[in-house]
Symmetry: C2
Amino acid sequence: MSKPLNEQVAVLGVGCTKFGDNVDQNLADMMVDAAQAACQDAGVTLDELQAAWLGTFSPGFNGGKATITLADSLRFRERPITRVENYCATGTDAFRNAAAAISAGLYDMVLVLGAEKLKDRAVRGLQREGIHPLIEAGSTAPGMFAMAANRYMHTYGLDRRTLAKVAVKNHANGALSDKAHLKMKITEEQALSAPMIAYPFGLFDCCPTTDGAAAAILCRADIAKERGKALVLLRGSGLAVSSGKPYLDPTCEYLGFPSTRMAAEQAYKAAGVTDPAKEVDFAEVHDCFTWTEITNYEDLGFCAKGEGSKFIEEGRSSLQGDLPVNPSGGLKSFGHPVGATGVRMIYELTTQLRGQAGQRQVKNAELGLAHNLGGPGAVACVILLGREA
Amino acid sequence: MSKPLNEQVAVLGVGCTKFGDNVDQNLADMMVDAAQAACQDAGVTLDELQAAWLGTFSPGFNGGKATITLADSLRFRERPITRVENYCATGTDAFRNAAAAISAGLYDMVLVLGAEKLKDRAVRGLQREGIHPLIEAGSTAPGMFAMAANRYMHTYGLDRRTLAKVAVKNHANGALSDKAHLKMKITEEQALSAPMIAYPFGLFDCCPTTDGAAAAILCRADIAKERGKALVLLRGSGLAVSSGKPYLDPTCEYLGFPSTRMAAEQAYKAAGVTDPAKEVDFAEVHDCFTWTEITNYEDLGFCAKGEGSKFIEEGRSSLQGDLPVNPSGGLKSFGHPVGATGVRMIYELTTQLRGQAGQRQVKNAELGLAHNLGGPGAVACVILLGREA
């Protein structure tokens, strides 16, 4: 990184609510908790923050639209607040826009907040919001991803036992995370014998529906340094939208997600990463389904196409592996409140890079990657955070 | 402006669909038309654009969520697309985020697109999306703004005849705009005798429900200069969220919108504007209701608080006045497709600054202001564009 510190972006503080079925909290309550935790972590007050970006997918029935809800719940007023929505990549895209505003010199210090209240919602209604009424009518997220997984299994011979290994790993990690939604270990047999949702996905191959919020405070890196904070720096970011109609595209090989490959390419280029398998120390990736994590390994360049099964089988992505993936427990165990997930990944990356992840700490965490995947795999966002060497 | 051109943002091209009841176009069709028009105007192809920001308030029932709809309709793929939503300030906030990314050096040239398909929607359902279910339940935009207008009338003695003058002016301007939704002149008597909607607002005091899309292509100013284009530069921007609960705030004087004052202050500071009444040459402001335009004059610093009536009565905001406001016809006559409106204002500012506005051209157009107001007046965004002197 050749840029001077005053042209770089640092993560000064992070916060996260408990993820789960938060019956005692509405969207606004969770926003307050996450933002206050991030302020406390950063050692700043809300008054010091000059602007905010709010990532939320579907706040409609929980307090009107969202920027005013943030302004009123946090009394964060008289300042800019932008809402970003980009399917399941909402949280990381909000982070990306906030970071650009810091880089542009518009603000010195800002808030990024991801929040979603899902457990009060009818899942079908929610699902419908993210689904194209002509192309995808009647389909569900498990159904769509299951079709892709079947194609992959047909081509590469992946079986359900390998998928179960992803679930077992992520639940084991999540069991070490106090804030995880499904904080419990499971066995391969439990995963394999769980009720079928959409072949090859049983219940434990699917991430849960979750409430939660997460926050990050970003600032110019020279300001973070002045404050004596451990320097967690933005190394690169990427966002790509491919097509929402892969089903209609006869050239689509359907063995992964081009959006992830393109977003990763942008982020790696910005960070000067040429060999991600060696240079990325750990990653939080979008494991909405167990198979998604396997194809993510490949699309992110952690291994070659078709070798994702081997990657998990050999334990390379486990907490003790050479490239731990989803040390938090991932969407699978930590939970998936849509707009919050990307910011929750920033929370995990920052915690790991500072060496504060306790029992789930990965070794030699110097460069971490966060990856969100949204829509029918059409939108991907990749963020790279690094600790000052 | 002391910054070198390569650190400034230019508007390279703009496009706009016909605004109105576009029964032959869905959201995607309008996106394509606006973006292609902007490309043609800029002399670039879509392939040259490295990223996009899409401002849309409520695309939910018109092709799923929005970024994928843009990617597929325009075949604008393999690149970043961010959706921004911020009530009626959605379009200008999308512009603001796109400009920040150019300033940050992330991209050389990007697309900003505002689009909304409203005429297929049940207005009550749409309204509900923007309204707080606890605080504002049962209220409508005309009802909320009417309450504020009554308070203002009580304090300053404004009467309905003055409101009618705003409608007459904006319809006269809109009658000169080929793309305007309500392209027709009206008389004061017509305005005063129209059916009452919510006192003091009759039908002609309210902006219509409109379909439409508008686009702008932004680039580094040195690139615009290289291409030999008339230089239209971003001089400053501001965004502020006040409170969504002014009705509950006993200290609120309710004679204008603090959000507008704060956003304007930010934009003026960035542009070095100290006397907006003299330095701003013309403005596109958020005249969702006639009274809103009057209070906007005051909140934007075009005249003192309470003197907005005099400002319109004296003809200062007319096309021939010293500070023409809404030369396009404004929301009142040009129409108000929520997410498109802010970008449509950028279209108008750019057209005027280039001297290409034909019959509605304002004189000496060197610095133009765009102003969006959203929610219950809680969100405001102000953009200043200037022509290279």
